[in-house]
């Protein structure tokens, strides 16, 4: 574990060992529930979660990297640790996810600032080390940019759907991708979120602490707001329509297209016997093979793995995507026509 200074713990509180930190400062959780002065911190923690649930980033008391007042530092860390306690007591996963993401974005800001810090070499080194230790991405400084191996870049960038993150839209030299400090940090946002999320999930859930009940109850109410309902139009997306068209005309649909069509329809609940006749017109149709392959995809034969419909990204690469405006930035054909209510 990286040795952290005072300012660093406030910036990256998830790196601290929560229990140890409280002990070092001479506090127990029970005190926060009873001591009127400390109880304010529960409200602060609650606010921190509320801001996160709203999709915003918690505004801390840190000014320009430094703690505004000597006393603010423990408060800053306590509110984070108490927020985790509240989340554990409440047990709502949607809130934990939102909180982890917001905290990741908060830490991202500091990481970025530390990376671009020209006056303080040690801050930059810490940021580079955090990125390397937590996410095994080896960042190196080259002129005004940070460079990382293409293979490391790809492992993270494939989680982005924006086109500017595609490798083709990056500057590459000698097997390295060139990134700004902002991009370097943005690249690991999801992993940072996952890291914080898993730290919360893996933390022990304490028994209810007197004085915490109100905030926990309020959180439980809050999380209900995020339950979503979806309705579907039932219409097929253009890629699927196209594939069916091709087959109906008796033209050849490539293997990848057949895979897409079959997995899509299977996911929509159709049976192998319902799907098989679609392929009758294919130039190389063979009933026995078609049934064998469909059963394989459905997981009813072979390894038992149920194959899922490929993502839009993959279909684009395979020239099977015929997106229309109705697709509305979905990332998998199965989402087509689904409206959140």
């Amino acid at each position: 574990m990286i040795a952290l200074g005072q300012d660093e713990i406030a910036k990256y509180p998830f790196l601290a060992d929560a229990g140890q930190y409280l002990k070092d400062k001479g506090f127990s959780l029970e005190q926060f529930g009873t001591d009127p002065d400390l109880k304010q911190l529960i409200d602060k923690a609650y606010d921190r979660i509320l801001v996160a649930a709203d999709g915003k980033i918690y505004k801390s008391d840190l000014i320009e990297d430094h703690v505004s007042k000597e006393a603010a530092l423990p408060r800053e860390v306590f509110s984070f640790l108490l927020a985790i306690v509240l989340l554990k007591l409440c047990g709502m996963h949607t809130l934990i996810k939102r909180f982890a993401l917001a905290e990741a974005r908060r830490a991202e800001k500091y990481l970025e600032r530390d990376l671009s810090n020209i006056s303080d070499e040690s801050k930059k080194e810490l940021a580079i080390r955090v990125i390397d230790d937590l996410f095994s991405v080896q960042v190196e400084k080259q002129d005004d940019y940070f460079v990382i191996p293409v293979s490391d870049y790809l492992k993270h960038s494939i989680n982005f759907h924006e086109r500017e993150w595609k490798l083709i839209n990056r500057h590459i030299e000698n097997g390295l991708v060139f990134l700004t400090p902002h991009e370097t940090v943005r690249l690991i946002r999801k992993e940072l979120g996952t890291y914080i999320n898993s730290k919360i999930i893996n933390a022990k859930t304490p028994a209810m602490i007197p004085g915490f009940e109100d905030s926990v109850n309020k959180l439980a109410l809050l999380s209900k707001k995020f339950a979503t309902f979806t309705v579907t139009t039932g219409e097929y997306p253009p890629c699927i329509k196209h594939a069916i068209d091709v087959l109906e005309k008796g033209e050849n649909l490539p293997h990848s297209g057949r895979f897409m069509l079959a997995t899509f329809l299977l996911s929509k609940g159709q049976t192998v016997n319902q799907i098989a006749p679609l392929f009758k017109n294919a130039p190389d149709y063979n009933q026995r093979i078609t049934l064998y392959q469909l059963n394989h995809l459905a997981g009813t034969s072979g390894s038992g793995t149920q194959y899922s419909c490929p993502s839009c990204e993959k279909l684009k690469t395979q020239s099977l995507c015929f997106a229309t405006s109705e697709c509305d930035n979905i990332i998998n054909p199965l989402q087509f026509g689904k409206k959140r209510k």
């Binding site: 293409v150 790809l154 960038s157 595609k166 083709i168 590459i172 130039p283 793995t305």
Partner: protein
Amino acid sequence: MQESDIKFLEESFKKYYFEHFDLIRVPERTSEREFGYQKFNSGMTRHIQIKDDKELHLLFMQNVPSDVYCSNAYYSFPNLPMNEKDWKEADLIFDIDAKDLNLLCRESHTISICNECNEISKKLKQCRKCNSTKLEKKSLPCKNCIDSSKDEVFKLFKILVDDFAINKENIHVYFSGNEGFHVYVYNSQFQQIGSRERSELSDYIMLRGAIPETFGMKKFKPNRSSFPDFDDKGWKGRFSKYMYGTKSKRSKIISELLVNGYSSFQKTLDNVSENIGVKIDPNVTMDIHRIFRLPGSINSKSGLTKILCKDISKFDPYNEASFLSDDTIEILANSPLEFKLKNKKFGPYNNEKVTVPIFAAVYMICKKLARIA
């Protein structure tokens, strides 16, 4: 395929494997690979583990396969079912196939075999005899096909070396045995990346999914200074050379691009991608569990050998990949197209009995354009 044809092909293949086993390149870390094979008129047998070349030799002699395959992936347990194999890593592979290059010559050397009535003709849309649309197409690739595929290999090679810093010695190019080339990359930083990462790598190599901003065209307030230069590294430099032609035209072309605007630039990019993107088959590169034709084995689509190209610019598959016997045999040939093998011309044949060398007989039978008389 009829019994007598299969018997003939098996005998010819067996003789080849007996005499030319030295051409078979047993891949490194043999026992970590998955092998598979097919016999004529039969399905695939895969999930086979092989210890060394002796065991491989035995497989050839015992089974007389029509095709033999080997994984680019390394597994802890190559003989177990797919999800128990424990995938470790995989060499990076690219497939360049003449049929994917949209070449104009294509139609002139492709014929169709009707699935219903077996009629062979140069008509490609519908059977001329029974009007069925269920046609199997066979192509006898020409010099233009091979040369155009080679151009793609050169383009790919340059990107691998220049952009990805891959050591030239770690890139091996093989003639696929039919219509294209397989490019293997060993020991690169990409050994351990998964399927989605490889798909991204393919898009890069094919120049797909680029946005105008990448080549200097901004959506708002575009300006001249952000456009790429002739000597830029990577796609920016290649884009410049293609778009500007010469350094002196740079300024004029940029003015045109700016006048035409952002959305027109996106169309220009699609066109550029079609012209200078490398035409690899992305499905092959992103598949990390595939088994590939084993180098040195015969491709049953042609009877030619998948062979390492030491000097690809001079490589002539119709001379250097045909290793079968010069002895002659009588066949019933029905090939509307003529072709050249080992510097000899054959065909066209109109359903006639001819006596030809075994290498040519195998070629035609594999292409379903002849049978044993």
